[in-house]
Homo-oligomer: 137 residues x 2
DNA sequence: GTCAGTAATGTTATACTATAACAGATTTGT
DNA sequence: ACAAATCTGTTATAGTATAACATTACTGAC
């Protein structure tokens, strides 16, 4: 872990911390309404409380939205706050999801932005299919 | 009603052709309900009629779903039915959208699949930002 | 300290996106 | 022609997200 860049969860509001802790405790993506249901006991009552927390966490790079399944997952890399470019690899059978963040992905997006003359703000790369385990069973 | 008249040379059903023609006439992505509203006059009445047509058109590679904006756009390349790998570059200001489909994109996805030991079924790559025009105005 | 201004949070209501379940119509193989 | 399978239409409902406003909490000047 890169201490210099890592931020703990102490600067988060109560709701943000509740959502963040839940997403970190699960390794899988959760929908906003799954989060809502899980957090009803601890004071979250309305969708907007969840969506506002998610919005902030996403802007901080701590949470990603997986667009193709409308779900949210804790960033598995401490460095995402800096890099901001990741890819998700999703098994459609076992629903396991892997977050990939390396140089080849960053430079692919950089190249695409240059090629299309874009000032890149946000990217998402999602690959669906069968994972290694599910291909052979 | 004489169905054959509407089908012409195409292998599409009436509803599929209506949706396809609309998406081709617009160059921008449309939401399912925008499509529904546009096609009410010609007999489309329910969301499912639109969604079923879209599902088929997507499976044929003629239409893409742009995940991050929950919208649908006609494929701008005849080759997508074969390649199946494209990227969307979306300007968040003018909402112009460009579909990119070249060898570098295909091989990026291929490499990602190999690296993660996935049997790839579907991918989506979406880059948001400001287009060349909007950066300078 | 207090009080106005600002920001954050809570709440209700509603808009937008998508599919389940069943009914009716059409096509197809025999 | 007729049953089985498929396609299409319709109603109802599930799932995702935000607008609008009320309330509370924080901040800084005085």
């Amino acid at each position: 872990m890169n201490i210099e860049f890592y931020q703990g969860n102490s600067d988060l509001s109560v709701n943000q911390k509740l959502v963040m802790d839940l997403l970190e405790s699960q390794k899988r993506p959760l929908s906003a309404y799954m989060i809502l249901d899980e957090l009803r006991d601890v004071g979250i009552r309305a969708p907007l409380q969840v969506y506002r927390a998610l919005e902030k966490l996403i802007s901080m790079g701590k949470v990603h939205r997986v667009e193709s399944i409308s779900a949210f997952i804790a960033c598995s890399h401490m460095s995402c706050e800096k890099l901001g470019v990741t890819a998700f690899v999703i098994c459609d059978r076992c629903e396991n999801i892997e977050e990939v963040s390396d140089q080849s992905i960053s430079s692919f997006i950089t190249d695409l932005a240059i090629k299309t003359k874009m000032k890149a703000a946000k990217s998402n790369i999602e690959l669906h299919g069968l994972c290694n385990t599910c291909q052979t069973s």
